[in-house]
């Protein structure tokens, strides 16, 4: 339980120790520790996610570069990098780094998240948009660097955790999860092929 940690970052330490000891038990990882707020718990998870995604980026760098992936793509979806005032053609790895940087900056921004103990209500809306953007990194890895993705996932189970988290707190809408889920055969007639819909 996080209560036994006495530092100012009890929740973070608790989460990290769970990951160290038992990262396969995703349900336990996601489970809200008693006596804590959902907001702060999500916040810690998102922070952790950013931290660990960096490891994935390091793996990706070996094979994802301007030549192999000149554009940020995931399946048919192609994204505009929001990090530039002018529409710029960022290659995928740049996009990923920018996105991760942006998310990290936002989560550490004193203006929006002045405290890790209580989150201002107006800042909660950023969770979704952060999660949505982080998801694109997974998606790109899955569609274009499957081997790296799977090796990473086997080791860390980060994507599984992300899915659970998103599912639990409704961070990313189901129809935006474009990575096919093995256990769930698509039962939604319209959602799973959004790109074809868009092009109508």
């Amino acid at each position: 339980m996080p209560d036994k940690y006495e530092s100012a970052f009890a929740l973070q330490e608790y989460l990290q120790s769970l990951i160290r000891t038992n990262k396969e038990n995703i349900d336990l990882l996601i489970e809200l520790p008693p006596g804590h707020e959902e907001d702060t718990w999500q916040y810690e998870h998102l922070r952790q996610l950013c931290l660990e995604l960096n490891y994935l980026v390091i793996q990706l760098e070996a094979e994802c570069n301007r030549q192999s992936c000149p554009e940020m793509k995931a399946d048919e979806w192609m994204y505009l990098c929001a990090a530039h005032p002018n529409p710029t053609n960022c290659c995928a790895i740049d996009y990923i780094v920018h996105t991760l940087d942006g998310a990290t900056t936002l989560l550490n921004s004193h203006k929006y998240f002045p405290s890790r103990i209580s989150i201002p209500e107006t800042s909660i809306k950023y969770y979704q948009s952060i999660a949505r953007r982080l998801y694109r990194i997974f998606a790109h890895a899955w569609f274009h660097h499957r081997e790296i993705f799977e090796a990473f996932e086997n080791e860390n189970q980060l994507y599984a955790r992300f899915l659970k988290l998103s599912d639990r707190y409704g961070l990313v809408a189901k129809n935006l999860l474009i990575i096919p889920q093995n256990n769930n055969i698509d039962n939604d007639d319209r959602d799973n092929t959004p790109s074809s819909d868009v092009s109508n």
Binding site: L80, P85, N86, P87, T99, T105, R133, A173, N175, S199
Partner: protein
């Protein structure tokens, strides 16, 4: 003065109360019906939404609906909440897709949702409900963030495409991006409108990075730079959105008094409760009175003035000081008379007394212990002054800023105004009122937001003002025909004969023409509201912010433009104009779609002439009568046939005029010179108390300067002023005792005000200003996206590489002797250059010869002391003197330099950009009797000091 307060007045004069009674008893001689318009922040939500959509683009609604239906395939209203949410989130995500086609489609589907999924609404009320409901949901899904992000990207893309080095098929790209910007503006507008009055939403708007209002203002400013490519830009939508965003994030009419009191409390002044005070006296008035009284009765010891030490009043309040009355007795003034340069408004005019007895001869009251030392009436007068004393926040801030200016070691500029430092010590400003009013957090935030807004837009303020006024000008400088149309449509039979407009064209208006007129009216409404709101809010924050904006407005010919607006259109017709085609209005159109009458609508699309004007009237009426706030005044019949937006704009313009000229003799003289009285008198024909009141207020300011003849023949106007404008306790508006000295003081007064404004801006915003300027020039750093700050990583490298050149070539001798060099040149050099000095040097590069240390008699010569080297400010901002020339101004109106290319958007001709250097220095005030004609253009010289223009240099 003030005799109207006392009930028993001498027989030969009337009190205000008596006069009002008499007027009431008079038979109501065919006074026109009063118009039932009630002023508010904005019109009803459905009308405001109606007005957002142009007729030309209304068919998009149908298109959006079809696209949406094709994909969604179900009934939106019967979906579960989570199904809707999922779909909205999906659409928001796709706004970030790279392919513009896909983004367009998503935006259109979002539009249909934001527009209330009208396909499933049966009545207009239901439609409105769904608009509210859907937008609430959109907000919950984080739509604001996505919209804003998308808008920013689109605007930057627009910047990118309009760069001169972008060649390939520019117009195609720009058209596309304009459409896209239009989508996002619409989405944002729907979101903002549906959250009217919701403070938490206002907070959200202000907390984005940059705050939405700042971003929109910057866009307006940037339009000036790229006027070439402004064709098709959805300017009207921008303006409407900006107006609503200001309302939402800073507050509107209802918040004003509360915010004002909060601001007063923050500054240590007591709040005002009695807004309906019978009369007011200002510290300056009281000061004047004290001087007069103590001269006549040296034994009189006046009670001290609260908050501001009396002796520093005159010195600190010169811009508003109205103490012309004591122009001839200044010899006895202790504090203010030591005017070094004689430039300040206090400049004593030792005019010879024409009278035989010396009125200033002290009168010693026979001393006795039982009687008071002065006549009772004098004491009573003193008490009355105190009783009605109103220390406005502005006065107070002026005074404080003056102290700051005095403190400045190099403040030679102001040493001309000397006042006793001791006085401040005597009367320290301790907040003895234990802040009786509680400042709510939201109010405080709002006041802070004004500060942030000002700080951020200060570098662009000049461009913003010019752009807003240009857009306003574009609404009048149309072809003459449109005026005819206007007169025709509004054919209100009793008025039509009076106007020179021929009404023959009345029945031949195509939808296209009506749409253009409507577009102009709406633009003018939005601009007027934005300017007025900004003036009001800046005044709340700090009076000198307000003064700076008004200075820019005056310099950009705002006064003349407003008078033109009133002059070219007959206000009594304008407020009744009907430029509406009911079945092209958004709500009605959507309903018609549902009723499968789409075929008919398609027909009307093609410039169909409306045959039956009456039809559109009838449909139009009901919305206006149902004005909730208006309580019909019992005796008179009311006229509910009016055009809300035009009425609103007219009142706004009058309010702006009043705000810009109140107590500024120089600007009042400009109004006199423009012959504004004739125009204002025409406005009085419209029977509406608020409109009349403001027209009268503006007239009242001018009356001392207008000339005896005019006054003689316009006693009616003077009576109305007496009846409706609240008098000050010391208010010599009918005839000044010393008009000449007042007119002589006008210019120094204005100059001093400008000096103080300059000082204030530099003191508080200079560091930011400089930085901002860099940012402004460097496009990359402008408008950082909110979530993913762009180049934090990148810019870091950039900065490093810029400042640490990798191959520094050092001299051999230096390499050997650097330690010595360090000792001699660095460590032993203890005296650090003052910061300001370096700024001065920086600006010295483009220091032009126009700056002379003058006596302040000319506009472009700041009233500085000759010690120029020490003065860090003298060289900075007076170097860019430019102006619209009035001739050009006129010409543009005549030649209709502004044309409408399509219905929504206006194109701005580049060749109409005038920034002609105008270094004319003379003042020509003329009496109206001598004027050549209406607005005699050749006589008018407008000064155009335009500080802070350095953006333009590159």
């Amino acid at each position: 003065m003030g005799e109207h307060i006392i009930d028993e007045a001498p027989d030969d004069s009337l009190t205000l109360g008596q006069l009002k009674k008499i007027v009431k008893q008079l038979p109501n001689k065919q006074k026109p019906k009063e118009i039932s318009f009630s002023y508010a922040d904005s019109d009803s939500i459905s009308r405001e939404i109606d007005e957002f959509y142009n007729y030309a683009e209304i068919s998009q609604c149908l298109e959006n609906k079809n696209i949406f239906d094709e994909e969604f395939g179900e009934a939106w209203t019967t979906c579960t909440m989570s199904e809707r949410r999922v779909y909205i989130e999906y659409l928001l995500e796709t706004l970030e897709l790279k392919d513009p086609e896909k983004r367009f489609l998503s935006a259109k589907k979002l539009l249909y949702i934001a527009q209330g999924t009208f396909g499933e609404a049966i009545t207009q009320e239901q439609h409105l409900e769904w608009i509210m409901e859907n937008n609430k949901l959109l907000r919950k899904c984080g739509a604001l963030l996505s919209y804003f992000q998308a808008l920013k990207l689109a605007c930057h893309a627009h910047d990118y495409y309009s760069r001169p080095d972008f060649n390939a098929d520019r117009q195609v790209y720009i058209d596309d991006i304009n459409t896209e910007i239009g989508f996002y503006l619409t989405l944002l507008y729907m979101l903002v409108e549906t959250h009217r009055g919701d403070d938490s939403f206002g907070t959200e708007l202000a907390e984005l990075n940059p705050p939405v209002a700042v971003f929109l203002f910057e866009i307006i400013a940037s339009l000036r730079e790229k006027e070439k490519n402004a064709k098709g830009y959805p300017v009207k939508k921008f303006l409407l959105l900006l107006w609503k965003v200001i309302l939402a994030s800073l507050g509107g009419l209802n918040d004003m008094l509360r915010l004002k009191n909060s601001a007063r409390t923050i500054n240590g002044l007591p709040p005002i409760y009695n807004e309906g005070l019978l009369t007011k006296s200002t510290p300056a008035d009281y000061y004047t009175f004290q001087n007069e009284a103590t001269q006549k009765y040296p034994t009189y010891v006046p009670p001290p003035c609260p908050f501001i030490p009396t002796s520093s009043i005159a010195a600190s309040l010169f811009p508003s000081a109205n103490n012309h009355a004591n122009g001839n007795d200044s010899s006895g003034q202790n504090a203010a008379s030591i005017n070094g340069n004689g430039n300040s408004s206090q400049a004593p005019k030792s005019r010879k007394q024409q009278f035989q007895t010396n009125q200033r001869q002290p009168f010693i009251f026979p001393f006795s212990k039982s009687t008071p030392s002065v006549p009772k009436s004098i004491q009573e007068a003193g008490d009355l002054y105190l009783k009605f004393m109103h220390i406005s926040l502005g006065t107070f801030q002026f005074w404080k800023e003056r102290i700051e200016m005095k403190k400045l070691p190099t403040g030679d500029i102001i040493s001309s105004i000397s006042f006793n430092e001791n006085c401040i010590m005597e009367n320290p400003l301790n907040n003895n009122d234990e802040s009786q009013i509680e400042i709510t957090k939201t109010d405080k935030e709002k006041i802070e937001r004004i500060e942030i807004l000002y700080k951020s837009i200060l570098p662009h303020l000049q461009n913003i003002v010019i752009m807003l006024l240009k857009l306003l000008l574009a609404t009048v400088s149309s072809n003459k025909n449109s005026d005819n149309d206007k007169g025709g449509i509004s054919a209100n039979n009793d008025h039509i004969s009076e106007s020179s407009i021929n009404s023959s064209t009345s029945n031949g208006n195509t939808i296209e023409e009506i749409d253009i007129m409507r577009h102009r009216e709406i633009t003018s409404k939005a601009v007027s509201a934005i300017i007025l709101l900004m003036l009001k809010h800046l005044k709340l924050s700090h009076v000198l912010k307000f003064e700076f904006l008004s200075q820019l407005l005056v310099d950009s010919n705002c006064l003349l433009l407003i008078l033109k607006l009133f002059g070219l259109q007959d206000v009594s017709l304008m407020v009744k104009a009907k430029n509406e085609v009911e079945n092209m209005n958004f709500f009605q159109y959507c309903m018609d779609i549902n009723n499968n009458s789409t075929n008919e609508i398609k027909q009307t699309d093609d410039n169909m002439v409306i045959d039956d004007q009456q039809e559109s009237y009838d449909v139009h009426q009901p919305g206006q009568i149902s004005d909730p706030q208006f309580s019909i005044s019992n005796e008179t019949e009311v006229d509910s046939d009016y055009c809300w937006r035009n009425f609103f704009a007219a009142i706004n313009f009058l309010k702006i005029l009043q705000k810009l000229t109140k107590r500024k003799t120089h600007r009042i003289l400009l109004l006199v010179q423009y012959k504004s009285s004739a125009i204002l008198k025409r406005i009085l024909k419209v029977s509406h108390p608020l409109l009349e009141l403001y027209a009268l207020k503006v007239l009242k300011n001018q009356i001392p300067f207008i000339g005896r003849k005019w006054r003689q023949s316009n006693m009616k106007v003077i009576t109305s002023i007496y009846l409706s404008c609240r008098p000050d306790l010391r208010d010599e508006w009918i005839s000044l005792t010393d008009v000449d000295s007042e007119m002589d003081d006008a210019l120094p007064q204005e100059q001093n005000l400008r000096t103080l404004v300059k000082f204030y801006n530099e003191r508080n915003y200079f560091p930011q200003y400089d930085q901002q300027n860099d940012i402004y020039l460097d496009d990359n750093n402008r408008n950082l996206p909110d979530i993913f700050p762009p180049c934090y990583t990148k810019s870091l490298n950039h900065v490093n590489s810029a400042y640490i050149p990798d191959d520094i070539m050092l001299d051999d001798s230096f390499l050997e002797n650097w330690e010595q060099w360090l000792q001699e040149e660095v460590y032993s050099f203890s005296s650090v250059k003052p910061h300001l000095k370096s700024i001065d040097e920086y600006y010295d590069d483009d220091f032009t010869t126009t700056i002379q240390n003058g006596d302040g008699s000319e506009w472009d010569v700041p009233p500085t002391s000759p010690v120029d080297g020490k003065d860090p400010f003298s060289s900075i901002e007076w170097k860019n003197i430019s102006s619209y020339e009035l001739k050009d101004f006129e010409q543009r109106i005549n030649n209709s330099g502004f044309k409408f290319y399509d219905f929504d958007d206006m194109e701005i001709n580049t060749d109409s950009v005038t920034n002609v250097d105008d270094k004319t220095n003379e003042t020509t005030y003329c009496w109206p009797d001598e004027m050549l004609g209406p607005l005699a253009p050749s006589e008018v010289t407008i000064y155009q000091p335009t500080p802070y223009q350095s953006e333009d240099e590159d």
